[in-house]
């Protein structure tokens, strides 16, 4: 009941004209960004953050806009997967497996409708899950002390790489690099300038927003220039209206995919990509009779429901614990921190308007997205015909004007370009960027919690291991690390067997 009345109040916030306008604009922009190959939710949200600052939107409206963009990207990512066989963003990779074959058989309209409805089911169920579970987790998290938070951050950094199969040492190094970058500037507790090398520009440290735009948007440009420009072949949509019979085939798969994706989304570091992969492979194991990979509607529905549900699930740890579960939620966390709002269990008590307004806005966004993605899908398929040489430079210009508008300093533009180069090199070397961002964002808070725990104990380090919650979290961390090390040793043997070095 308490949840219902909170949600009702949330709808009152979400239904304000400015917020409604932001939902529609965010859904449209998100679908567009998601549909364009090369740009995904992380880049899209990163580019928009400086703009939300510059326009002086309040925290609730900014979060509503960014979340609408986030959900929109998840819907939009499928469009180029199906029509071009190029995933619009990483989580949409699995959708190419059956979506593109369907399009080649002249069933593009069916595939788009099935995946649109699957996205709706996944995102709506995940929002429902968010409504039910986030307050519970927030209540549990109130009992966390400083030592427990320190343990939680250790766990977040250790598990953020997920079970993605990249070298776990690199994930940890990336996180440590982020933490190191986070210590640059004046130490808030003592006022000592650390790692500034005498530059006054660095006294405030690196602005996470500037770093993010560089890491995600600018590095993408450098990546894009790797290959020679090539023409994209758009598949004609075939029949205009989808057949209801085909759409129905995907419903069961959508429901199963939603549940799997939602769970994958809550896990730290797993995120939407894993949600899509797990949903697809589960569905395949359950139902495949040799039709998967040749254009089976269930193979389209499951991963789409999975990645959309995961993006809703990923909001839970970000809002309740302040520890994001994916790259995009990490970027959103950066914005909240910059607005002086510390996500965590107290957020639900201190800013109910923000939390419930956001949740209500997500329900509304799903309906807007359903309309944009079924009857109005033609707009977005036409956009895919636009050439990259026209769009990517505009991304650069918008990044520059956004960052310049909040800092008014050419120095920060250089910092942005510097982070762009860093992001490019790290990605080339197979380092993930999300741990870097997390380190940069959470480093200060991690240090503060360590300090708080130690000043309570008078400098005795064993205080870190005295709380049962902390011990449980370290236990989970240890199990997870053992698992990833075991998995990566298999990869390492495979690498040695190939004679690599």
């Amino acid at each position: 009941m308490e949840i219902l009345s909170s949600l009702w109040a949330g709808f009152a916030v979400a239904a304000l004209p400015i917020n409604l306008a932001l939902i529609v604009a965010g859904c449209f922009a998100g679908t567009l960004i998601g549909a364009l190959p090369g740009l995904g939710p992380v880049n899209g949200v990163a580019i928009l953050i400086p703009l939300t600052f510059a326009f002086g939107l309040n925290a609730t409206s900014s979060m509503i806009l960014l979340s609408a963009v986030y959900y929109g990207c998840m819907y939009g990512g499928r469009i180029s997967s199906i029509l071009l066989n190029i995933p619009g963003d990483e989580p949409a990779i699995m959708t190419t497996l059956d979506g593109y074959p369907m399009a080649r058989k002249g069933q593009a309209a069916d595939a788009l409708a099935i995946s649109g409805i699957a996205s709706f089911i996944g995102a709506t169920l995940a929002t429902l899950g968010l409504t039910l579970f986030a307050p519970l987790l927030a209540k549990a998290a109130i009992y966390f002390g400083p030592a427990d938070y320190f343990a939680l951050y250790v766990m977040a950094f250790a598990t953020i790489g997920g079970i993605s199969g990249t070298d776990p040492r690199k994930t940890l190094l990336a996180a440590l690099l982020g933490l190191m970058l986070g210590t640059v500037g004046l130490d808030p507790a003592t006022g000592v300038a650390r790692y500034t090398f005498g530059s006054f520009n660095l006294y405030d440290g690196f602005d996470p927003i500037v770093a993010l735009v560089g890491l995600f948007a600018i590095s993408e440009i450098l990546f894009f220039l790797e290959q020679k420009a090539q023409d994209r072949q758009l598949i004609p949509k075939g029949r205009v209206f989808p057949r209801m019979s085909r759409v129905k085939e995907g419903l069961g798969a959508s429901l199963r995919g939603s549940v799997i994706g939602f769970i994958a989304g809550i896990l730290p570091g797993a995120g939407a990509s894993l949600g899509a992969v797990m949903a697809y492979s589960f569905e395949k194991r359950l139902k495949d009779k040799g039709t998967f990979g040749t254009g089976d509607p269930r193979g389209v529905a499951a991963p789409e429901a999975g990645n959309n549900a995961a993006s809703g699930g990923a909001l839970i740890p970000m809002l309740t614990l302040g520890v994001p579960g994916s790259g995009t939620t990490a970027v959103m966390l950066a914005m909240l921190i910059s607005l002086n709002i510390q996500p965590g269990p107290l957020l639900f008590e201190r800013s109910p308007d923000l939390v419930w307004g956001l949740v209500a806005a997500l329900y509304l966004a799903n309906f807007v997205l359903l309309i944009l993605n079924l009857p109005l899908i033609g707009i977005f398929t036409r956009v895919l015909g636009l050439p990259a040489w026209g769009l990517m430079p505009l991304v650069v210009a918008i990044s520059y004007l956004g960052v310049y508008a909040i800092t008014h300093a050419a120095f920060d533009l250089m910092v942005m370009v510097g982070f762009g180069i860093l992001g490019f090199v790290l990605r080339k070397l197979d380092f993930s960027l999300v741990p870097v961002v997390l380190g940069l964002l959470l480093g200060l808070d991690m240090e503060n919690n360590l300090r708080r725990a130690l000043s309570i104990s008078g400098g005795d380090f064993t205080v870190l291991l005295q709380s049962p919650i902390a011990l449980l979290l370290y236990g989970i961390t240890a199990v997870f690390l053992a698992l990833t090390l075991w998995l990566s040793r298999r990869d390492s043997k495979a690498f040695a067997a190939k004679g690599g070095r």
Binding site: F55, L173, D187, T190, V192, L225, A388, A397, M416, S455
Partner: protein, 143 residues
């Protein structure tokens, strides 16, 4: 091979980071002090960098010569755009940046000029005039 290089870089970076932390001292009431946390994160990074140097596992493929050339040119454009945004003003610097990047990405020259010519003043009008973000229309060199 690239893993070894990355390992060496991380090792040197983290070692320097830990070494510098020794210089950060502060007085009372703070049992941790400003130098402990950098050591808590720096020392594992030293070890992991070392491990990556000794046991590499991945080798990056870099772009071909023309790809690297395009990336280098783009980098020059990006740095130039950052440095010249204030002196040249938003409209002119954006025109050059959008045109240059567009050409690098394979834009046909005339359509590239048209795109940049429309988008640079267009973005200015949209964001400065319509949405109220203050951007320098004409740079300090002209004012």
């Amino acid at each position: 091979m690239t893993d070894r290089l990355a390992g060496i870089c991380f090792f040197l970076l983290a070692a320097g980071y830990v070494w510098l932390s020794a210089g950060y001292t502060a007085g009372f009431g703070d049992p941790l002090g400003p130098s402990i946390f950098p050591r808590v994160i720096g020392i594992p990074a030293v070890l992991l960098g070392l491990s990556l140097m000794i046991w590499p596992r991945h080798n990056a493929d870099w772009a071909g010569a023309d790809g690297l050339l395009r990336q280098g040119a783009a980098l020059l454009l990006l740095v130039g755009y950052a440095l010249l945004l204030e002196p040249l003003g938003f409209v002119l610097s954006t025109f050059v940046a959008v045109l240059g990047l567009g050409l690098l990405m394979g834009a046909p020259p005339i359509r590239g000029v048209l795109t940049a010519g429309i988008s640079a003043p267009g973005l200015y009008l949209l964001f400065d005039r319509l949405m109220g973000l203050p951007l320098p229309a004409l740079g300090t060199w002209f004012g």
